[in-house]
């Protein structure tokens, strides 16, 4: 069986579950889940961007990078859990919209990259608070990582919106 056929069967099975039926037939559930999902995305995305802006030395230059990271990065993880739960419920409610959509898989791949970057940054600063300030090379590398992070996070949000426009009929 091809992967596409497996995903079609999975979508069909998911759509027939009582949970999916409830989500489909109760009008307010999907927009409510999407609202919680976006609020979670707003918190995670803004936290990551504020740390990236510090790496660029654009904001909060009066505070050491490690302090900014400690303020904003740890809260990302529990909020990511909320995003994953609401996201999963949205998939259960409309399986075909995501599971049969290339944009969705692109979004998940980008999310993995973004979370690796965030985790890596957290880890590097926990092992050495001066990690990204040691020499000129490290500072440039830090700015590069911040640029990649901003681009990846923005792409995740773009992909999220694009799922609505690329779903199969």
């Amino acid at each position: 069986m091809t992967l596409d056929a497996v995903l079609r069967d999975l979508s069909k099975w998911l759509a027939a579950t009582p949970l999916s039926q409830t989500i489909q037939t109760t009008g307010w559930i999907i927009p409510t889940l999407q609202t919680i999902h976006i609020l979670g995305v707003a918190a995670v995305f803004s936290s990551a961007i504020l740390v990236d802006l510090r790496l660029w030395r654009a904001l909060q230059r009066d505070v050491p990078l490690a302090d900014v990271a400690r303020r904003f990065l740890p809260t990302i993880w529990p909020v990511v859990l909320i995003i994953l739960i609401t996201g999963s419920l949205l998939i259960i409610g409309e399986p075909r919209r995501s599971l049969l959509n290339t944009t969705f898989y692109l979004k998940m791949a980008l999310l993995a990259v973004a979370l690796l970057l965030t985790g890596g940054l957290q880890w590097s600063l926990r092992s050495a608070p001066e990690f990204w300030d040691k020499d000129r090379g490290r500072r440039i590398a830090g700015r590069f990582a911040a640029t990649v992070s901003v681009l990846v996070w923005c792409s995740i949000l773009f992909a999220g919106r694009w799922i609505a426009y690329t779903q199969v009929g």
Binding site: I38, F45, S46, R71, L157, F158
Partner: protein, 168 residues
């Protein structure tokens, strides 16, 4: 609607720019994506400030240092959100003006602005006296709490607009 206002709306709605956004398959989702990115930054960064006002985050920093480090991002993103939002609006102005969630969203954003102004002018008058405290005076906690509720409602209205507009 007052006639001059109606004229203005139809002027923008009939402009070549609005026509392009309506007709081009890529332009609307593109502007919409920029709008979502900007809104997320506005809401997420304001949340960080509100949590400081509530004494729940960044408590070892003074209020003015927290706002100085965060609000430039908020304002930059707000400008982008309003610009992209205006472009989406003019592409279908009449329908948006007839949508209760759109009107509610605009009113709520104005209320969030008013909340901020009131806090600046009245609530934060003696800011230097208490801005280093963990537990801030009632007016500061109130402003932070009201702000969170208003912005959550703004996002909810934004999402509901998408479900209540006739398919373009």
């Amino acid at each position: 609607m007052m006639p001059p206002f109606a004229d203005l709306i139809s002027y923008f709605e009939n402009s070549a720019l609005a026509d392009n956004i309506r007709e081009n398959d890529l332009l609307f989702p593109l502007i919409e994506s920029v709008h979502v990115v900007a809104i997320c930054l506005v809401v997420g960064s304001i949340l960080a400030v509100d949590l400081r006002l509530l004494g729940l985050a960044s408590i070892n920093r003074s209020v003015s240092r927290v706002t100085a480090g965060i609000l430039p991002l908020t304002w930059g993103a707000f400008v982008v959100a309003v610009s992209s939002g205006s472009l989406l609006f003019i592409s279908n102005a009449t329908e948006y003006l007839g949508n209760g969630f759109f009107i509610a969203k605009i009113v709520l954003i104005a209320a969030a602005g008013l909340n901020m102004v009131i806090f600046h002018v009245i609530g934060a008058k003696d800011l230097p006296r208490w801005e280093n405290d963990t537990r801030l005076p009632f007016q500061a906690r109130l402003a932070g709490g009201v702000s969170i509720l208003l912005w959550v409602a703004v996002v909810a209205c934004g999402r509901w607009i998408g479900f209540t507009m006739p398919a373009g």
